[in-house]
């Protein structure tokens, strides 16, 4: 014949169960946060790489502009467009 459990015994099992659940929940959310931090870390790394790539591209473009507008290049191109430095008397300095 089974023995009926007293109400006192039932209440004492509820507390450990709730405690265990709480521990599991905290552990779960801690793990979740950790994963989120790692995911954000990947995103930050990717953004930083993109920033570096764009900065390098910017530098390359500035270099390209400087090379295309260099005096030596323009001087070499000038005759092609019938351009030449002004000769004496071609530039009049107005007061």
């Amino acid at each position: 014949m089974s023995r009926r459990q007293s109400p006192v015994v039932r209440r004492s099992r509820l507390v450990p169960a709730l405690l265990a659940l709480a521990i599991v929940a905290v552990g779960f959310f801690t793990l979740l946060e950790r994963l989120e931090v790692t995911r954000e870390g990947y995103r930050i790394s990717a953004v930083r790489a993109e920033i570096a790539r764009l900065e390098n591209q910017n530098r390359s473009l500035r270099l390209k502009v400087a090379e295309l507008s260099s005096r030596e290049r323009l001087r070499a191109l000038a005759p092609k467009y019938d351009l030449a430095p002004p000769r004496d008397g071609q530039v009049v300095m107005m007061p």
């Binding site: 390098n56 270099l63 400087a66 071609q90």
Partner: protein, 687 residues
């Protein structure tokens, strides 16, 4: 016992006991691992999931005073290979394709891959697009890393000032070296966690560190004036046959270097970046020294401007040597001594001043010590102590022989005359700013010494105008339309470094001056090294000064002293202007008032070549100077033949003179018949 095992409670108890036992064993094992093997295992784990890298810093740019870039760094890619893996995973045809993309022969590639090394560079610092094509081949064992490369977009403009950065990003010369600690930036040594694919994991504040880019260096150099100076200098180096030339443009009050040009007859892109003649080479200044002599003598009250000096009719004996003037003169005052550049007059002034006072005066002008310019490798020049001077040395120093200066020292000395007597420190870097634009370093003008009083500086300023505008001035070709110019020419024999004697046919021609003389804004020095006979400072250097000065004045919007000579330009009809094409620019300039043709600039009484036949070499020089002509001389003695012939139209090319000695031979007799003047009496140098 049966009762015990049959009991359910007992079985659970045994199981629990067994599990507990296993748990305790595991705990003991873990404890043992942590205590005894912990450090080793920790190190193994770190090597598995941490990586180290050095993030290179990009080198900061160097720009001119208006921000035009003269040196820039940009990312490039360097291709490497792991030979064993490449050989294992690729075919010969794939490697041929790889070689083609890298711009090398297949044999060269194979040779590189045969090296007994796990890692070899195939090609460093190539364009990123080319590296992407290489990576697109998908060859295992081939990869590319990012590296920065230094570029000079304006090619050789201001090469000696900017300098050179090496393959590993270190400064080797010029500003690149002098300010390397600012320009190179701060690389970062990084330790980070990474996953199985090598991707960094943000798990540490260290991952946030970025390399600090190099600072931006802004020069005082004006690229427009620099380009103008280099071009004009290059033209004259080619025309005169000089080995190389130097030009310096300075603000006399602040010491800012607006241009520092070095042009060689045989340019070399690397050598020209490593060597700066303007501050590293010395030369005997010749008659340009006379302005400093006059300044020191007036400052010391050794002479007055109106005091007369007897110039011995062109020949003066000192210590058994003869000092010559280009033309014989009697009594000259200080102004005329400078105007005609009398060596004898200068010597007598030096004798009156005395060696000690002259030496002290030259030292306050900065001779014999560095100017302090912010560039590496500056020479001090040569100025011996006065205790070692004989009388002939004192005389020689008076007209710039036996003493050596750098072009920059001479320019700074003349800046003192131009600015009222102050010796300023020249500088090429105006400011340095970090990547955020904050000023890291700013140069301000700095006075080193007072050489002469303002009143004396003004006196010498006025006297130097005679050199340019006087009827016998040696620098008439230094005149600049619309501006008052003051300055001095110099023509000095070069020293043979082997024998220690002076060459007879190798000269250094120079002109240094400032404008506007009544309100100096620019000091400009032009030096041409190793020119031949007849290439006086007033003939080859002064015109270059004039061209640089005019262009610089326009670039800097310096108001002219006089109204322009083109005030009738507006009266030209539109039809006449429109009827002239751009290709007929010569016609346009000829039609405008105030312009000069080549023939007009000759300075001869007409446009005809003078008659040199029968003249001694000295007389020929004097005639050439008056006519503002270059000479090309062969032989010794008297002129027996010339080309072009006397009376023919003047050309820009040098006049060729053939000389022969006077002797008893039949050819000598005809030379004697042609000879006109006194015995040849060559001076050691021409003014």
């Amino acid at each position: 016992m049966n009762a015990l095992f049959k009991s359910r409670r007992s079985r659970i108890g045994v199981l629990a006991f067994a599990l507990a036992g296993l748990f305790v064993l595991a705990l003991l094992r873990l404890t043992a691992l942590v205590i005894f093997d912990g450090p080793r295992l920790d190190s193994l784990a770190r090597s598995e999931h941490t990586g180290e890298a050095e993030l290179a810093a990009v080198r900061g740019p160097i720009v001119d005073r208006f921000g035009e870039p003269l040196a820039l760094s940009a990312e490039t890619r360097s291709v490497y290979a792991r030979p064993a893996r490449l050989f294992a995973s690729s075919t010969a045809s794939e490697r041929v394709k790889l070689a083609a993309l890298l711009g090398m022969t297949p044999a060269r590639l194979e040779a590189l891959l045969m090296k007994p090394a796990p890692f070899v560079w195939l090609r460093r610092r190539i364009a990123p697009e080319r590296a992407r094509e290489v990576e697109a081949l998908g060859l295992d064992g081939v990869g590319a890393l990012s590296e920065y490369k230094r570029f000079y977009p304006e090619s050789d403009l201001a090469a000696a000032v900017v300098g050179l950065a090496g393959m590993d990003g270190q400064g080797l010369s010029g500003v690149e070296l002098q300010y390397d600690r600012y320009i190179r930036g701060e690389p970062v040594e990084l330790t980070f966690y990474h996953d199985a694919y090598g991707h960094p994991i943000f798990d540490s504040p260290l991952a946030l560190k970025s390399p600090e880019p190099g600072d931006r260096v802004q020069l005082t150099i004006d690229a427009r004036i620099q380009s103008l100076a280099e071009n004009r200098l290059a033209e004259e180096v080619a025309a005169s046959g000089a080995k190389h030339g130097t030009a310096v443009v300075l603000n006399p009050f602040t010491g800012e270097v607006l241009a520092l040009a070095n042009v060689s007859a045989h340019p070399d892109p690397v050598r020209d970046r490593l060597h700066d003649s303007a501050i590293q080479d010395v030369f005997e200044p010749g008659s340009t020294m006379k302005a400093m002599l006059a300044s020191v003598a007036l400052e010391d009250h050794a002479i007055t401007p109106t005091e007369m000096f007897y110039c011995e009719n062109g020949a003066f004996r000192v210590d058994g040597r003869t000092i010559h003037d280009d033309s014989p003169h009697g009594y000259l005052d200080l102004g005329r001594i400078l105007e005609v550049s009398s060596n004898i007059g200068a010597s007598k002034i030096a004798f009156k001043l005395g060696a000690e006072r002259f030496y002290r005066g030259l030292r306050t002008f900065g001779l014999g010590r560095r100017t302090g310019i912010d560039l590496p490798g500056e020479a001090t020049g040569i100025l011996r102590k006065p205790s070692t001077w004989r009388q002939i040395d004192l005389a020689n120093h008076a007209f710039g022989q036996g003493v050596a200066v750098t072009p920059m020292q001479l320019a700074v000395a003349y800046s003192a005359i131009a600015n009222g007597g102050l010796v300023v420190r020249p500088y090429v870097v105006e400011s340095i700013r970090d990547a955020q634009g904050r000023a890291v370093l700013t140069h301000t003008p700095q006075v080193i010494d007072r050489a002469i009083a303002p009143a004396v500086a003004h006196q010498v300023n006025v006297l130097l105008r005679n050199v340019v505008y006087g009827p016998d001035g040696t620098a008439r070709r230094a005149q600049v339309d619309g501006f008052l110019v003051a300055g001095k020419t110099g023509t000095a024999q070069m020293v043979n470094p082997v024998s220690g004697r002076y060459y007879q046919n190798h000269f250094v021609a120079s002109f240094v001056g400032f404008l506007p003389a009544n309100d100096p804004r620019l000091v400009i020095l032009v030096v041409l090294y190793d020119v031949g006979h007849g290439h006086f400072g007033g003939v080859v250097a002064a015109p270059v000064f004039s061209q640089i000065a005019l262009g610089s004045a326009r670039a800097l919007d310096i108001a002219s002293d006089a109204p322009p000579a083109y005030d009738t330009a507006s009266l030209l009809s539109i039809d006449r202007l429109l009827g002239l094409s751009r290709k007929s620019g010569a016609q346009l300039s000829d039609s405008l008032p105030g312009t000069e043709s080549v023939a007009d600039r000759s300075g001869a009484s007409g446009t005809a070549t003078p008659d040199f036949v029968g003249l001694s070499l000295r007389e020929a020089f004097a005639t050439a100077r008056r006519a503002r002509l270059n000479l090309s001389v062969t032989g010794d003695g008297y002129v027996v033949r010339q080309a072009p012939a006397p009376g023919s139209p003047l050309a820009r090319l040098p006049v060729k003179l053939q000389l022969a000695s006077v002797d008893d031979s039949p050819s000598g007799a005809s030379a004697r018949a042609l000879a006109r003047g006194a015995r040849p009496n060559l001076s050691r140098r021409a003014p």
